[in-house]
């Protein structure tokens, strides 16, 4: 079968709708997973009773089970206990929990580099542990953890393609759906690979800008 560019052009609007959903679900999940990571890492670093072992169990669970199983559990399993989320929010929850576990570990490493001295200095100024965390520790930890966090975010973006399995009409869903109707396998997969590649490059670029900004105070 020859590569049919005209066919691909005709599928443009459908692919763009899928792309837009991929961007929405991924960006939201990236932001939320960083929050999960920050809170989880804080609980672990501060050894908060109950929370610390709970976060540890959560991280182990997520890292040692397949994401697809987690996705099906959220989409088909949770309604059984009365929590029925829409397709979109099932996807966001799955990606957030998945990437959140990795961000906990990334940020835990980053927080470990924030010395006891800065914590004492913050407390000595009357700042609460929470303010120390979000005004001092978190920004410093993110700077150190950023490369690892970017890797996790890129994985999240790519893993958003799993959401086709629950029928969320993101980019991969559109491709598979069109292929199952029109059988233009090569065109479709080539197209979505290029699009994912472009998304990852944009994400990396944004991260490098952020890294530049976070590093500015340390360039002397």
């Amino acid at each position: 079968m020859d590569f049919d560019l005209a066919y691909l052009m005709a599928q443009g609007p459908a692919l763009m709708r899928g792309l837009w959903l991929t961007i929405q679900v991924s960006l939201l999940s990236i932001v939320l997973s960083v929050l999960v990571g920050l809170l989880g890492a804080a609980a672990r670093v501060m050894e908060v009773p109950v929370l610390d072992p709970a976060v540890r169990a959560y991280v182990e669970f997520i890292r040692n089970t397949p994401m697809l199983a987690q996705l099906f559990f959220i989409f088909y399993g949770l309604p059984g206990i009365g929590l029925k989320l829409s397709l979109f929010w099932s996807g966001v929850l799955c990606l957030t929990l998945w990437a959140g576990a990795y961000q906990v570990e990334n940020l835990r490493g980053g927080l470990a580099t924030v010395g006891k001295g800065l914590r004492e200095a913050s407390y000595a100024l009357g700042l609460t542990p929470w303010r120390f965390f979000h005004l001092v520790a978190a920004p410093l930890a993110i700077r150190v953890a950023l490369p690892a966090m970017l890797n996790t975010a890129i994985s999240l973006l790519k893993n958003s393609s799993y959401l086709q399995a629950i029928g969320l009409a993101e980019l991969t869903y559109v491709a598979i759906d069109r292929i199952s109707m029109d059988f233009r396998t090569i065109e479709m997969f080539a197209a979505i690979c290029v699009i994912y590649l472009a998304l990852v490059l944009v994400l990396s670029f944004l991260a490098s800008r952020l890294e530049f900004r976070l590093n500015a105070p340390f360039r002397h």
Binding site: E120, S122, Y123, A124, L135, P139, A216, F218
Partner: protein, 254 residues
């Protein structure tokens, strides 16, 4: 008639596991006075001043600040207390990701309720006092150690504290910048700031302190006015400690 001391410690005790870091510390610090803690390393000086603002939580004893008793187990009470007592650390502990100005406005805005404009005006005035007004927009990494420590001191002052604790403020500095920091501290003492200072700068202690406290093994061994303590120490351990320092300290400050 003696007014009530600003800080009053009675029977303060602290263990780290089996190690008894402090035992039965009684100490009064009058408002406007400078108390210098000296003693060999491991004698409990740093632990003691950390017990005054709760960075280290005492196991037992009592602490009264400005006539109010501090409930030792109440974290909220410690947090309120820390807004009233400043602290300066050996390693400056400036926030590296914030500008000098922001280092100084962070706590006053969050804890004293100052507006940004008020906090910045106050910070610039304080920086001018220590000759660093031109560094307001710089990040700490652009400053020398002595400059950073002067910023750390005015950062503590920005909280308008009743007293300031100094934990070996010059120990990490190059000799040439120590002078600048000590000058600032002398200035504070002249202005009547209540200070508790852990230091090895015996010259500073002799010149500025109202009272010098010698500690060893987690207890206060001897205390008195600098002339008495340095001139005629009563306890054999004090004598031993001072004579071990003398050559160096004479050379620098005699």
């Amino acid at each position: 008639m003696t007014p009530e001391p600003l800080l009053s410690l009675r029977g303060l005790t602290k263990h780290f596991g089996a190690f008894r870091a402090l035992h039965g510390i009684d100490l009064d610090v009058a408002a406007g006075s400078v108390v210098v803690l000296i003693g060999p390393s491991g004698s409990g000086k740093s632990t003691l001043i950390r017990c005054i603002n709760g960075l280290v939580r005492p196991d037992a004893g009592s602490l009264r600040v400005a006539g109010r008793s501090v409930e030792l187990g109440d974290e909220g009470a410690w947090q309120r207390l820390r807004t009233e007592i400043g602290m300066v650390f050996q390693d400056y502990a400036l926030f590296p990701h914030l500008t000098v100005l922001r280092n100084m406005t962070l706590a006053p805005m969050r804890r004293l309720g100052l507006s940004r404009a008020e906090a910045e005006a106050q910070a610039r005035a304080l920086l001018a006092r220590v000759g660093l007004a031109h560094k307001a927009e710089d990040h700490p990494s652009a400053l020398s150690g002595g400059q950073q420590q002067r910023v750390a001191i005015v950062r503590a002052l920005a909280m308008r504290p009743k007293a300031i604790l100094f934990d070996e403020p010059t120990s990490a500095l190059d000799p040439e910048t120590i002078v600048d920091v000590l000058d600032v501290m002398r200035g504070l003492a002249r202005d009547g700031t209540t200070m508790v200072v852990v230091t090895h700068e015996m010259g500073f202690a002799r010149e500025v302190a109202d009272r010098v406290v010698f500690m060893a093994d987690g207890a206060i061994v001897e205390e008195g006015p600098p002339a008495a303590l340095f001139g005629a120490p009563q306890n054999a351990r004090t004598q031993g400690f001072l004579s071990s320092l003398r050559p160096a300290s004479e050379a620098l400050h005699a």
